[in-house]
Symmetry: C2
Subunit: 323 residues, 2 copies
């Protein structure tokens, strides 16, 4: 197993250390990502949005009395709304919530996090059975032109689309406790990448506005998006039963490569208390996914700092390797 | 001239006093509104949104560590998104920005503000040439199911639709310094109420996402919405020249009643510094509108507390009466 890691990571180094230690115990060998440039990122995110991400912090700081970080306070009712010139207006256009503040180093961190996912994709293309991309910040709440929930660039989507461009047929399976709304949005009208998400029911859980079972794709993409919302507190057995449905769908799609949006925040001790997967449960989850028998890119998404975090990634990877 | 005034008004009583004094100097006689019930409000706003407005504060207060007022922090990307059960989710669904916090008395204040507009409409139906509804909170940023910018119920839209139901053909002319985005949204796909707004260019001014000239209505409503964005700092002469275009459109529509969304925040000394109408300029504005020669409902929108506020409404009303 090979791994990528962001070159720079200003946020929560402690969290990364736990994950790296746990993955190392499972036999992972780490390497830094090469720079694949902006091409694969721009294949998924609009140039307008990339310009915004790269420049907004400097523009924001020029506003008298501005906060240290870019935080939105007014939002359009649809993506078709007027695109304003003002920094405040553009912040509201491109940031869905107050949980994705943009600091001075955000663009660089997000850029290298995406490169980390691409490095993992390269390893699969080079013949590896699996790779673990220790991405930070995470990506699955980022749409083509909209940040949210600590996510700016959608690492999983960027890697999946990159694999598609190499002639493969990717499925993205999101097991983070939160719905992968950005990933869904990016591929919602497409049938060349299958998107599936298991998550705590959004009716009372972030991201609220996306993740219901009725959201099945649109146009060409109808039937190519599958949401499997779960009741709060769902444990290992019920989770694995629903996961079977997801895996069957991946097989029916004929995916020859799979990207796992690997959140560990579904753990029973996670502060968010969405689902109740146990630490041994992550080994079962890894083993079940492994039965797909196709090259698999594991992209780190959520999972908050706790004593269990290292053990959870270790269990997942060990289960995957033994599955 | 007759006038309505909210029975209860928890916010900025000082502002209301200035307006009332100014209008009285112009000869206005005030009366309290009767209760027209929810019917005319529900003709414009969704029942889901009204339920939200009435109950969200009590629900919000039950959240541990909640702020005193309901303030949103996550927003959907479109009105078609999943409608969540959570209070936090619904707040983000129904509040476009952080400038429309919902306090304990918000529903009652908004309700009576709408009744004040309806009372003014009744006076026109009873034969008055004009009525001034001193509404607070204002309304023109409120959509059918979305609050914003201190607005919760769209008083001007509620009054216009009420007049339409009585067989009249209303036009709404919004002269507030901000685009009347809620009013535009409510009638955007309809051709039975003409909507026009003169305002500071939204590219760098609230509400940012609405108010460009390209927004002309949709479907049945195409051509029935006219936006006239103006450069920052536009003064009396240029403003009045553009107003002529608006008045000609009202005449071409064949309106037999007109609702003026009367913001006074286009004044040269307004802290927002969007436009530069002078105090005598408001008299010219009132006189020009008066030439339409149809029954006219003046609904108070924005205009912030200053020494000029009373003089501005006095000038507008005096100009209107002499026009
Ligand atoms: Zn998560
Ligand atoms: Zn205004």
């Amino acid at each position: 197993m090979a791994n990528g890691q962001p070159l720079r990571n200003p946020e929560q180094p402690e969290r990364i250390r736990h994950l790296k230690d746990g993955a190392s115990r499972a036999g992972a060998v780490f390497q830094a990502p090469r720079d694949h440039g902006r091409g694969p990122i721009a294949a998924v995110h609009s140039p307008e949005y990339l310009t915004f991400l790269e420049n907004i912090h400097a523009r924001w700081k020029r506003i008298e009395g501005a906060s240290d970080e870019v935080i939105p306070n007014i939002h359009p009712d649809s993506r078709g709304a007027n695109y304003p010139k003002s920094a405040v207006g553009q912040a509201g256009y491109h940031q869905a919530d107050t949980a994705c503040p943009i600091a001075e180093g955000t663009w660089e961190a997000a850029y290298w996090s995406a490169q980390t996912a691409l490095e993992g994709a390269d390893l699969l293309l080079g013949g590896e059975r699996a790779a673990y991309s220790l991405c930070r910040p995470p990506g699955h709440h980022a749409f083509a032109d909209l940040a949210g929930g600590f996510c700016f660039l959608n690492n999983s989507a960027i890697a999946a689309d990159y694999l598609r461009q190499q002639g493969l047929k990717p499925a993205i399976l999101d097991v983070d406790v939160h719905h992968g709304n950005g990933t869904q949005g990016i591929f919602y009208k497409r049938n060349d990448v299958l998107t599936i998400s298991l998550h705590a029911d959004p009716d009372r859980f972030y991201p609220f506005f996306w993740g219901s079972a009725q959201e099945r794709g649109e146009g060409l993409g109808e039937g190519y998006n599958l949401n499997l919302p779960l009741p709060r507190g769902t444990g290992d057995d019920d989770y694995l039963a629903v996961l079977k449905t997801a895996l069957a769908r991946v097989r029916n799609f004929g995916a020859d490569v799979v990207v796992i949006a690997l959140g560990l925040d579904s753990h029973e001790n996670d502060p968010l208390q969405g689902l109740s997967i146990t630490t041994p449960g992550f080994a079962r989850l890894g083993a079940a996914i492994s039965t797909l028998g196709v090259p698999t890119l594991l992209v780190q998404e959520g999972g908050y700092l706790s004593d269990d975090l290292g053990n959870n990634i270790e269990n997942f990877l060990t289960g995957f390797e033994g599955g």
